[in-house]
Chain length 393, copies 2
DNA sequence: GCGAGTTGGGCAAGACCTTTTCGTAAAAGA
DNA sequence: TCTTTTACGAAAAGGTCTTGCCCAACTCGC
């Protein structure tokens, strides 16, 4: 109950946020009367709030068009004033996307590279971000939030990033300094978490699910009621570091190493084929391949099934390199989960393929950008806003 | 953003809730000035709100006592006006407790019985509840909430209860009809969930943890930020129905059956001793027993470890029959979890022993009772409250 | 026993916000 | 042209919180 709700000015602030949220939820330019209905406020109140927001340049007035009765002006968020970026720094490929708060991408840069690491990688990202800005003609000050994906684990308490590779081995401060430009809320987040977040936008996705990122590494993110679940230190979902007995060699190793995609055939008992071939054959319905695939995913399922039951999940999603392999894998996972007691768990492949992580980064940034917009919304008429610089474009 | 915050009357309502929460958080009779500071409201405002609440009989005025300066009146929640009950219907033992919103138990009935089931059990619980009421001299109308524990799974969407035993095989409606008395918010909740909830009150417990209930059945509950996590259908934590290979027989069975407490020695490779003896021996530090115990809990740990990593847990708790076995078990669990990759997970035994579930039921009821108190708080001066009848006592 | 110091309680004025109500404006259709 | 429908604007009213001030009650020290 730490929500500030005291004097009447605070009431106005709350209602301003309400209106702002309604504008966003509506998605398209909206009439005052409609906003009044959505917020359960009266028309004059909404009108006044909208006037203030328009005066400060937060809302955009769309001139009336035809209608039965007197045509109404419609208002929408001034998207180009609040931009966000998302970045994914992969081992051989870096992507930066600039988007509005609605998540729609306005500019994008993708660059192949040869294992750039640390500061060098940050420089590259900074360059790409500048190019995106130049392309859209937006000032850096319009960038309210940005999220950078790292394969490491971001400790929420210390801001330290733990990574087993040199990739994404920064401190949060370094990233903020390099990409923040003073006014931007920059955050660094685990890539598996972001991949999970990206899957929210897939149709028919429930509000709570587990997102499996399965490529070179193995990671998972938990989305709960549409929000990322981070755990106490931010390490939630790090199932790759579980220790399991390798069914082939008998050694105890990290799950991440045991279930590498390339080892799928080996685990399934058909080491003579490649993982792609196995998936393809299973996709064609060849019984032996289906069987082998089921065996291959068993070590993973032994870990995922308890999580499904513990969290009462109905859906898990799969992204990363393996998402290209077609529907054979989700089917095998679903079957095998059922055989382990986790019935009726649907498996959904990411439709974003290798862009899943960037997509999640943009989504994450859009969310924190929106939080910031809400937090800094002007609720009194008066002088010009001191908020993110107005774009001239 | 569906929080009602619109006109000024609503503002008053919010502030009333604020004050009420502050009174509760303070725990003891509190001065107006103090409440003002806690709520960030001004003294006149708090005074007015408190006056209304006192007029309606929600707050109790404690006459001034000594102080430097003018003695201040102190106010506290009129506890005896808002009572709750918790009930645990076990196979051979039923417990009903009546408590205030602070969770302090005012009356208690415990009864051994011979497998009473269904309606018969409900009748017994009703009887015991009546006796508790008689003992405290409270009217039934003061009972604002109650929670009944069931070993079954309560489906949040349908209100149906699924149970593999006849025990606790009711519908939610039946329970409400029998124990609700018209004005009480009765809820039915899984016993493992409630056991987990009870562990919140153990000192130094983090806000998020997993509560393992391990006796005849095996269940778990997840407490997240102090709240019970139920999952989409309410089946969260049902890890007992996982299918695992039994290390002894080689059969695939429900985890619940594989890791029965009585089978611990068998799983550990020392079938000649009893579970109690094994725990005792391990507790004395006998190396062989410690080793056997570790082996014995391995099947369970293989399931719990993924959950710990997925949720980034630092603590799991253990309640149920096994909690009597002393500190050997938590140590073994902790060690074995570490060997599976879930490092630094502390295991805490329930100090409530077989009362853990009732304790959780009372806590759950107190919480929903409090929600109801907040929801029905009077925020305008005027006629007598139409809320839960005033007790004459 | 008495005054200074300290702290709580209460009242009135002022500022702010929302709602209600009424009148006006702008379009489409008869 | 008139009616209907919908949007917009302004004034009045009701309600709430805050600020500022004064009084009340008690302790402590002399």
């Amino acid at each position: 109950m730490d929500q500030p709700a005291r004097g009447t000015p605070q009431l106005r602030m709350l209602n301003t946020r309400r209106v702002l949220s309604a504008v966003r939820d509506a998605g398209e330019p909206t009439r005052i009367a409609e906003l009044a209905e959505m917020t359960a406020l009266t028309r004059p109140t909404v009108a006044q709030i909208v006037a203030v927001l328009e005066e400060h340049g937060w809302l955009e007035r769309h001139e009336p068009s035809v209608a039965t009765g007197r045509p109404a002006a419609r208002y929408a968020l001034l998207q180009r004033r609040f931009m966000v970026f998302g970045a994914d720094a992969g081992a051989h490929r870096a992507v930066v996307e600039v988007a509005g708060l609605d998540g729609r991408v306005r500019a994008r840069r993708e660059r192949r590279h040869d294992r750039r690491l640390g500061q060098e990688m940050l420089d590259l990202l900074g360059e790409m971000l500048q190019e995106c800005l130049a392309e859209t003609g937006l000032r850096a000050a319009t960038m309210v939030a940005g999220t950078v994906a790292t394969p490491g684990i971001v400790d929420l308490r210390t801001g330290r990033i733990t990574t087993r590779h040199k990739l994404g081995d920064w401190t949060v401060e370094e990233v903020v300094d390099r990409l923040g430009a003073g006014t931007t809320d920059v955050s660094v987040e685990n890539d598996a978490n972001l991949a999970a977040l990206a899957m929210r936008s897939v149709p028919d996705m429930p509000p709570t699910f587990l997102g499996l990122q399965w490529g070179q590494r193995l990671g998972a993110g938990i989305v709960q009621d549409g929000q990322l679940y981070r755990g106490e230190s931010g390490a939630a979902g790090e199932v790759g570091s579980l220790l399991t007995e390798d069914p082939v060699t008998g050694q105890v190793r990290h799950l991440e190493e045991v279930v590498r995609v390339s080892r799928l055939p080996e685990l399934g008992g058909v080491p003579e084929v490649s993982a792609e071939e196995l998936l393809a054959a299973a996709g064609r319905g060849e019984q032996g391949a289906v069987e082998a695939l089921r065996h291959g995913v068993a070590p993973l399922v032994r870990v995922v099934a308890p999580i499904c039951l513990a969290l009462d999940l109905r859906v898990i999603t799969i992204s990363g390199a393996i998402a290209r392999g077609g529907p054979a894998l989700p089917e095998a996972l679903r079957d095998e989960l059922g055989r382990h007691g986790a019935h009726d768990v649907e498996c959904v492949l990411s439709p974003f393929l290798e862009d899943t992580v960037v997509r999640g980064a943009v989504g994450h940034a859009a969310e924190s950008g929106w939080q910031r917009v809400l937090a800094t919304a002007p609720w009194r008429s008066g002088g010009p806003s001191d908020e993110p610089g107005v774009t001239d474009r």
